[in-house]
Amino acid sequence: MRQRARQSRSPLAPELFRRLRSWEGLLLGVLAVIVVVTAAAVPGYLHPQNQINLLELSIEKAIVALALSFVIVSGEIDLSIASVMGLAAVLVAWLRQQGVPVEVGIVAALAAGTLCGLFNGYWVAIVGLPSLAVTLAGLIGYRGVALLLVEDRSIGGFPDWFNRLGQQPLVGPFPLALIVFAALVVIATVLLQFSGFGRYVYVVGSSREVARFSGVRVPRVKMAVFAMSGLTAAFAGVLLAARLGAVRGSTAEGFELDIITMVLLGGVSIFGGSGSMAGVILSILVILNLRNGLALANATGNTQAGVIGALLILSVLVPNLIAAARARAVRSARVEAGRRSLPSAK
């Protein structure tokens, strides 16, 4: 009752306040702080070209994070994404070396990525193995296949158009990967937040049993989610190959840390069933800006990885601590109320 009264007095303020107190609001605040601090320290930081450059450096990870969000919302995890990226990149280069045109190589790489995803999905959704174990096997195994193809060589020599797509702006100042990312952001948001499929993903993630008894074909949803993850990772791998111009067996190694952090920091629960695309997009921006800021502050790539690692833990730890503190507050409030009501009852 009291809440409604307050709302009628000024309908916008509490709504805005509630929004800001949410996880997305927190991320927005963090993002603002990082941007302001870096912009104050580094002249020209806010220049659009600099922003585009910094986005470009991790754009492949951001693209995969969009697809991984679906996997994690559905209550599973995919640790094999970085290896699928590497495998796809290697496949394009290796096929070209075997005399296959790059166009065909790209299609083959995308098909291979989808196949990897379906393979993961089969063991998780149909056989019922834990996704952690299956995709850990994938993490090692897909990387192993990539190593088998290129051994310890580095393969480059892509055609000019392929390199140009990866390294030069396509429309105005924007390179292809950035345009693709923008399009995928829209598609992913619509798919997760506004489509029937997205609803299914949430339902499967919050309770497998409830989903099954409500007539959701759980295995099919999980298969779809893993296939999406594999396809997107392969696509990102091809983009990475184009940007780097040469690939090795270790291409994209260790990327899973950043990608998983992007998703979890975005407020997607590791237990499935909750989170939003808006949060993931904000957290992608936070991580990209943070990495850029750290690089400008002369932190090495390794130190950056450490900061990302800390962020990964904090993104789950902080909400847990807040929830625990809230639960304690509610409990003590109840005890307090009980104490106060005791004398009056007497």
């Binding site: 063991w123 840390l257 390794n302 450490g306 800390a310």
Partner: protein
């Protein structure tokens, strides 16, 4: 009859059989394969992985995972190496104790976040995997520990043997590793703490309701995993001597692979140290033999490792689950028969 062999033992016997089959196969492919030298090489390659896998088993039994062990091994190896380079006069027990203490401290960080902060172990240890590696990079300033800076006793340690029969050597460090495996196997099967790990892993909710100290036990499992990774770090230093900032990188994958292939259920609640040792032995045997097998591409290792993990987990789910139900059913039948015959014996007397 069925109740004599537990499903877990079926797994270990299968592994033993695969090991023998693999040796028999490579013996036909590689000239001079069956020799003391091969045994020495493979057993020596096991030391680090076996010790770290024991700790990992404790953690996996509780339905968690410790992905940070690779970085712990590297960090401890570097730290102790630098210490010995600066203070070569230290008694051998001191660096070992420091290695274990540092490992325990790193494990305690993981344990606190997982058990008390309720952050899933994958998330926590993926994070600390990166953080501990950064600590190593910062600590080292991109310098490396080199063999010639280490004291002589340390350098002689890897070549010291307990038993020598021709070119078959049982290295003393292998004995240490096996002793660790046996000690923790005993802990697992006979100590209350070991039994509680099984209870927690097979059903955490039931364990909580039964009043088991769930959080503390999981915390201790992570501390022990860290401590053993610390000991593994010392063994790593002894074995390789040269420690760079990438020391131990990727070791966590091999360790998890050894544990899973060794039949420790990733769902928690079942597994044994001996199984983990056998898993480590199989992986090490395959890796070293593939390198010596001319017909195989030396780069095929990782692909096979991935396949092996998948096969292990899948067979655990499909075959062992069925075995377990048959086993339980057979036991129940036996029990019923026993009570029925006991009742029969009682009735005429009465």
């Amino acid at each position: 009859m069925v109740r004599r062999i537990r499903p877990e033992q079926v797994r270990e016997l299968t592994l033993l059989f695969i090991l023998v089959a693999a040796v028999a196969f490579f013996a036909t492919q590689i000239p001079g394969y069956v020799s003391g030298r091969t045994f020495t090489d493979i057993s020596t390659g096991l030391e680090v992985i076996a010790v770290v896998a024991v700790g990992q088993t404790l953690v996996v039994l509780t339905r968690n995972i410790d992905l940070s062990v690779g970085s712990v091994v590297g960090l401890v190896a570097y730290f102790v190496g630098t210490l010995l380079a600066n203070e070569p006069g230290l008694a051998p027990a001191v660096p070992v104790a420091i290695a274990i203490a540092l490992g325990s401290a790193l494990g305690a960080i993981n344990g606190t976040i997982v058990a008390y902060g309720r952050v899933p172990a994958v998330v926590t240890t993926l994070g600390t995997l990166a953080i501990y590696r950064v600590a190593l990079v910062e600590l080292s300033g991109a310098k490396t520990v080199t063999t010639d800076s280490l004291p002589a006793w340390l350098l002689d340690l890897p070549r010291s043997s307990l038993v020598s029969l021709g070119d078959l050597d049982i290295r003393s460090l292998v004995v240490v590793a096996v002793a660790v495996v046996i000690a923790f196997q005993l802990l697992l099967y006979y100590a209350p703490y070991g039994r509680r790990l099984f209870a927690i892993g097979s059903n955490p909710d039931a364990a909580r309701v039964a009043g088991l100290p769930l959080q503390r036990d999981v915390f201790v499992a992570f501390v022990l995993s860290g401590a053993l990774a610390g000991l593994g770090g010392f063994l790593f230093l002894v074995r390789f001597g040269n420690i760079t900032v990438v020391a131990g990188q990727g070791l966590e994958l091999q360790v998890v692979a050894a544990v899973v292939v060794g039949g420790v259920n990733i769902f928690g609640g079942s597994g044994s140290m001996v199984g983990a040792l056998l898993g480590a032995a199989l992986i090490n045997l395959l890796q070293q033999s593939l390198l010596r097998w001319p017909a195989a591409n030396p780069f095929v290792q990782d692909a096979i490792l991935g396949l092996l993990i998948l096969l292990a987990v899948a067979s655990d789910k499909v075959v062992l689950e069925r075995l377990r139900t048959t086993w339980v059913r057979a036991r129940r039948r036996d029990d019923e028969r026993a009570t029925a015959s006991a009742a029969k014996q009682v009735t005429p007397g009465a």
